[in-house]
């Protein structure tokens, strides 16, 4: 197996990218867990935690992850036609849309549960389902980023 030494100038960009990705996935996991637990009591509080995790955690982390990705790509002069880069961009682009939708739905779910604590509705569950799909998608992206398949 041939080895390649990554240039030191890429390391800081990669650190930003990986840290952003890890914080993004972590906040998504926290958000989903909060919604799931909100079904068994203390609904409004956990819905609030879920919404805040998405708004103040996941969205900024996404930006950090994406800026880091562009930074790495510019440093490494990576071509666009490599499959694993395509997977990363594909997942990233679609996930931003779904992340925004999930955050809005989580906010609406919080507003509803504040107004009608006994009837929280399904918005929070839908948001959690979308976030779960995002986590799955990021899992695929992590696989593509690390294994770099043809």
């Amino acid at each position: 197996m041939l080895a390649t030494i990554r240039a030191d100038s890429v390391n800081i960009a990669l650190l930003v990218h990986v840290l952003g990705a890890m914080l993004l996935v972590g906040t998504l996991v926290a958000a989903v867990a909060a919604v799931v637990l909100s079904r068994t009591g203390t609904g409004a509080t956990l819905q609030r935690i879920s919404f805040r995790a998405l708004l103040y955690g996941a969205v900024p982390a996404f930006i950090v992850m994406r800026v880091g990705a562009e930074w790495v790509k510019s440093k490494e002069h990576a071509p666009d036609d490599v499959a694993w880069i395509g997977v990363g961009y594909g997942v990233s682009d679609f996930s931003l849309l779904f992340l925004i939708v999930a955050t809005v739905l989580a906010g609406l779910a919080l507003r509803r549960v504040n107004r009608q604590p006994d009837n929280p509705g399904a918005l929070g569950t839908v948001a959690a389902a979308i976030v779960s799909l995002l986590i799955l998608g990021y899992g695929i992206a992590i696989w593509a980023m690390t294994t770099k398949p043809t």
């Binding site: 197996m1 890890m22 972590g26 509080t45 956990l46 935690i49 071509p79 992590i142 770099k148 398949p149």
Partner: protein, 147 residues
Amino acid sequence: MSRRGVGAEGYSRARVTRYDWLLFLHVLSAFAIVGSVVVFTVVLLAARGADGAAALRLVPLARRLWDVGGAGTIVLGIWLAIDLDQYGVFDGWVIGAIVLWAVAAFAGFRLGTSLSEGDGGGAGLPYAVMTVAVAALLVVMIYKPGA
């Protein structure tokens, strides 16, 4: 550090190898560790306000993420170090990473235990130690000083 052959365009066309799978699972475990830190952060931030009691229900998740991520990173990391000719378990940066992992593991255990017992006041120090150790681990893993 990439272990792939480099073609004319800078990236290899090799198929996925055992090393790739080990690295993927190692990185996935690292995601679980950072996820644990994030969930602990959410719990502690919420505990500062009126949401504390409800947020404590997230503590078991944070502990399980740490258990899985911690075990995965150390086992797969050592496996990778043994498996690769370029690295050894006794390389300086690998030993440094193992020490940082141990510090983070101890602090994470203390943090989880403290929060599970409802002692939020005693969580500050282990949380800070765990967060700094995990951040340092990430820096060591990417920069691989001395490698």
